[in-house]
């Protein structure tokens, strides 16, 4: 629905164009993840109306056609189209910087059996979007990120041979550098800026990663689906917190 209007190569989330369809509501508890995602996908395309009379349990969600854009919105930053969002600014990192950033993103969130790596879900591209935004904080993050990328290469060169780039290092070599900058309070003097850079990229990478549909599925976030009623937490949850 909205992806068309976005630039960039991030993974598209499921796109459903059904209109005015009715579908049974699946209880939150019994709904498995695949079903949940399907409902999210449909719901994302169409606001739904749960209709039921008092005392009578709703059995279905009536889907009505969703607006595809908001013609009333002026379309500027104070009144953007919230139904079909766009990123109004150009990206600014070079393709060389993006390559290095993608490698760093994957050092921060690698692939495993549950989900892909950060760069596979476009984290470096999101960081480009972030540092290219026209706001003061983003602009200063741009300086931090670009400077940090240069620092990584200088450090790689210094430690592993003239001209060696961070992204070409072996995983162990990359870790040996990152271990020194991964926690601001522990960073040696002279490495504080590098540690702040790493911290920033870690924050942006985790935002980028966990907000993708795949990231949300990895966390087993099961909301954003219309429900006919709200139930107390399931027994296994109560048990988990000792409240059975």
């Amino acid at each position: 629905m909205t992806d068309e209007s976005r630039s960039g190569d991030r993974t598209k989330h499921p796109h459903v164009s059904e209109r005015g369809l009715k579908l049974p509501v699946l209880g939150a508890v019994s709904m498995d993840r695949r079903q949940a995602l399907k409902v999210i996908a449909i719901a994302a395309a169409t606001p739904a109306l749960v209709s039921c009379k008092p005392g009578e349990e709703a059995s279905e969600v009536v889907m009505t056609p969703a607006p595809v854009s908001n013609p009333r919105a002026r379309g500027d930053a104070w009144d953007p189209d919230l139904i079909a969002p766009t990123v109004p600014w150009e990206r600014s990192l070079t393709s060389d910087e993006l390559q290095s950033l993608a490698v760093l993103c994957d050092v921060i969130i690698p692939a495993d059996e549950r989900s892909q790596s950060a760069s596979q879900l476009g984290a470096h591209d999101f960081i480009d979007e972030w540092v290219s935004a026209p706001y003061e904080a983003n602009q200063s993050d741009k300086v931090l990120v670009r400077g940090g990328l240069v620092w990584l290469d200088s450090e790689a060169s210094e430690r592993f041979g003239e001209g060696t780039r961070f992204r070409e290092l072996t995983p162990d070599q990359q870790i040996s550098i990152c271990d020194d900058i991964c926690y601001v309070p522990n960073a040696d003097s002279g490495r504080e800026a590098a540690a702040r850079f790493f911290d920033k990229v870690r924050d942006l990478t985790s935002t980028a990663f966990w907000t993708t549909p795949e990231g949300m599925e990895d966390l087993q976030y099961l909301g954003n689906v219309p429900l006919p009623r709200w139930d107390p937490p399931p027994p296994e949850v109560l048990q988990h917190i000792g409240l059975e």
């Binding site: 976005r6 989330h13 939150a28 508890v29 719901a43 994302a44 606001p47 739904a48 109306l49 749960v50 039921c52 008092p54 908001n70 013609p71 009333r72 930053a77 104070w78 009144d79 953007p80 919230l82 139904i83 969002p85 109004p88 050092v107 921060i108 969130i109 690698p110 495993d112 979007e129 935004a133 991964c182 926690y183 601001v184 911290d199 870690r202 924050d203 985790s206 935002t207 966990w210 907000t211 549909p213 990231g215 966390l219 087993q220 976030y221 099961l222 909301g223 954003n224 219309p226 429900l227 006919p228 709200w230 107390p232 937490p233 399931p234 296994e236 109560l238 988990h240 917190i241 409240l243």
Partner: protein
């Protein structure tokens, strides 16, 4: 909005025979328009913002993933991309305000049909009997001219009309609603249940269902309409018809974006449609009111406004003028309404317009609760807002003078397995010692849903040093002089903020959690900035004595009897209870009075 087939702004030629002009379309303006239009009063509403339709404009299921910056807040959209605020936030384009030296006031406004009711938090707590007579109780601040009992029927009516979930707990100064008024509260979430148990059993803090303006079931339209308007067939019909178009909450999508199925309260989905359906309400949007005009006898004749589309001034007339532009905006209009009869602004003979502005005392603490880690997956969205809260519980300690602040606060809290958003895992390094790689990925999974935030919302006592005035050096882009704010907290507020933080620290630690925020010894560091809690009220206070107040108990100006200020400007105290429910109840009461006066041909 309803009744605008072209979907554009309402461009109607105002006629000259209105009974009442209402300035502003938010909680107060919407309620005034609803009650007056239902009562047969011909109303013209002027709204500075653009037309806005929650049904077609709300991004219900859109993901952060779909939005710029993953929907992070920006200068133009401070509460996030999807937040239902148009042309507003901490700044309004083209409409500056200023703070006097040493003051750091934050003023949240919105320029859209429905004002801030589109994105407000929906927390709807009644003020109690103590709250209407605080000075009588502890000698501080000011008493209201009316008592809780006078307003109680209007709380019932407002709650029944807008739909509020909650329960009657019979707690001190935390009034019950009449039977058949509240909707059932939603079942608490896991983290709410855990907090409730620890607070009740170990800390003696009550944790009870919150009151939110969200429908947990469809409204019983006919029963409620009959209850609200026993003798008014037209009002019953438009009210019931409008109620029938509202669906119950489906427990997904954040209320701050607005609600396209009308399950939560917004003026443009709940108040304006039935008011328009009476045929007695016209609305002009993009109409920025500058001043109230008066005749040679000092009676209000209408208002001057700037048509924002032409940038030209217009004048409209009516028998009664009702300002509901929000607390400080209404004070600003009065102060800018200068004439030879009223050289210091309208209704400002005693110099009290702009005085006694109050906000809510705010302080917060974030915690991480190991018991919530690795929770079995389940849907924890709920009604997007809190299902439980803690009402103030230490009235008796205060009565015995055991605390170093005079008034109470309630606690709003939440967290858990919310939809991952911008910054969901920011700032967890103290827990993870800066992990990255596979360990970081696993840390995120482990900590997801284990964070809890506690926010205190406390009563501020009005004082002489908190006020707004016209800034002699500035006008907005409509040529209208702007406001300048002055602020000084008293020790009551600062000590209260410190107490809040200590309480939250104690709760988190008793839950076996880690406190992630700094706990300040100095209340001035713990307290939120003035205005930051967005409960600014006062500035056009009501009272019994014309020399010491601007309005009477019906929001009627002492000086100009056909002029009313029916928004939070009239507040003389700002209880810990979030103000909007009271704003609407008091506006309804004022509207009933206006109708009565009109029937007696007093205008």
């Amino acid at each position: 909005m309803v009744g605008q087939p072209d979907g554009g702004q309402v461009t109607l030629k105002a006629q000259d025979d209105y009974d009442a002009i209402i300035v502003g379309s938010g909680a107060a303006g919407g309620m005034s328009a609803y009650v007056l239009a239902c009562s047969g009063v011909k109303v013209l509403m002027l709204e500075a913002g653009r037309d806005y339709d929650p049904v077609s404009e709300t991004p219900m299921f859109q993901l952060p993933f779909d939005a710029p910056l993953r929907a992070a807040g920006t200068a133009e959209k401070p509460f996030g991309f999807y937040d239902a605020t148009v042309d507003g936030g901490w700044r309004v384009p083209g409409e500056p305000y200023s703070s006097a030296e040493g003051t750091d006031f934050l003023w949240w406004r919105a320029r859209m049909l429905g004002g801030r009711t589109n994105h407000w938090g929906r927390i709807s707590l009644r003020m109690g009997e103590y709250d209407y007579k605080p000075r009588s109780r502890d000698g501080l601040g000011l008493d209201w001219p009316m008592s809780y009992e006078d307003v109680a029927p209007y709380y019932d009516k407002t709650e029944a009309l807008i739909g509020v979930y909650g329960s009657n707990e019979g707690l001190e100064n935390t009034p019950n609603s009449s039977p058949g008024v509240l909707l059932p509260p939603p079942a608490p979430r896991a983290e709410e249940l855990l907090t409730q148990r620890i607070c009740r059993e170990r800390l003696n803090i009550p944790v009870v269902p919150a009151h939110l303006a969200i429908l947990t079931q469809p409204l019983e339209a006919d029963r409620i309409a009959r209850m609200l308007w026993p003798n008014n067939e037209m009002a019953r019909r438009v009210t019931a018809e409008s109620m029938r178009t509202r669906a119950a909450c489906y427990y997904a999508t954040p209320c701050g974006r607005g609600c396209s199925i009308k399950a939560n309260f917004q003026s443009p989905t709940v108040l304006l449609p039935p008011a328009l359906a009476t045929g007695n309400l016209d609305i002009i949007t993009n109409a920025m009111v500058r001043e109230v005009t008066v005749d040679a006898n000092g009676r209000a004749t209408g208002v001057h406004y700037i048509d924002k589309t032409t940038r030209l001034e217009e004048h409209v007339r009516a028998r009664v003028v009702i300002l509901t532009a929000s607390a400080c905006e209404s004070a600003r209009i009065l102060l800018n309404s200068k004439s030879s009869l009223f050289p210091d602004g309208l209704s400002n003979g005693n110099g009290l317009v702009g005085k006694y502005v109050m906000d809510t005392v705010g302080a917060g603490v974030q915690g991480q609760i190991p018991a919530l880690e690795n929770m079995p997956p389940h849907n924890a969205d709920g009604a997007s807002a809190m299902h439980l809260y803690m009402p103030w519980w230490l009235y008796q300690d205060q009565a015995r003078d055991q605390l170093d602040f005079a008034r109470g606060y309630h606690i709003e809290f939440g967290g858990g397995r919310k939809m991952p958003g911008f910054g969901s895992f920011g700032g967890i390094e103290p827990l993870t010692a800066g992990s990255y790689g596979q360990r970081f990925k696993e840390d995120c999974r482990r900590y997801y849903g284990s964070f809890l935030g506690f926010d205190g919302r406390g009563e501020m006592i009005p004082n002489d040093n908190c006020y707004c005035e016209i800034d002699p050096e500035q006008v907005d882009e409509w040529g209208i002089p702007t406001l300048r704010f002055h602020w000084t907290w008293s020790d009551h507020e600062l000590n209260q903020a410190r107490h809040m933080q200590r309480t939250f620290e104690e709760i988190i630690e008793t839950m076996g959690g880690h406190v992630l925020s700094t706990i300040h010894e100095d209340g001035a560091k713990a307290i939120a900035r003035p205005g930051e809690i967005i409960h600014e009220v006062g500035g056009v206070i009501m009272g019994n004595d014309p020399s010491r107040s601007v309005l009477n108990e019906f929001c009627q100006s002492w000086e100009v009897d056909n002029l009313f200020v029916a928004d939070g400007g009239c507040f003389v105290s700002n209880a810990d209870k979030n103000p909007t429910l009271s704003i609407m109840a008091i506006a309804w009461r004022a509207s009933d009075y206006i109708v009565g006066q009109m029937n007696e041909r007093n205008f």
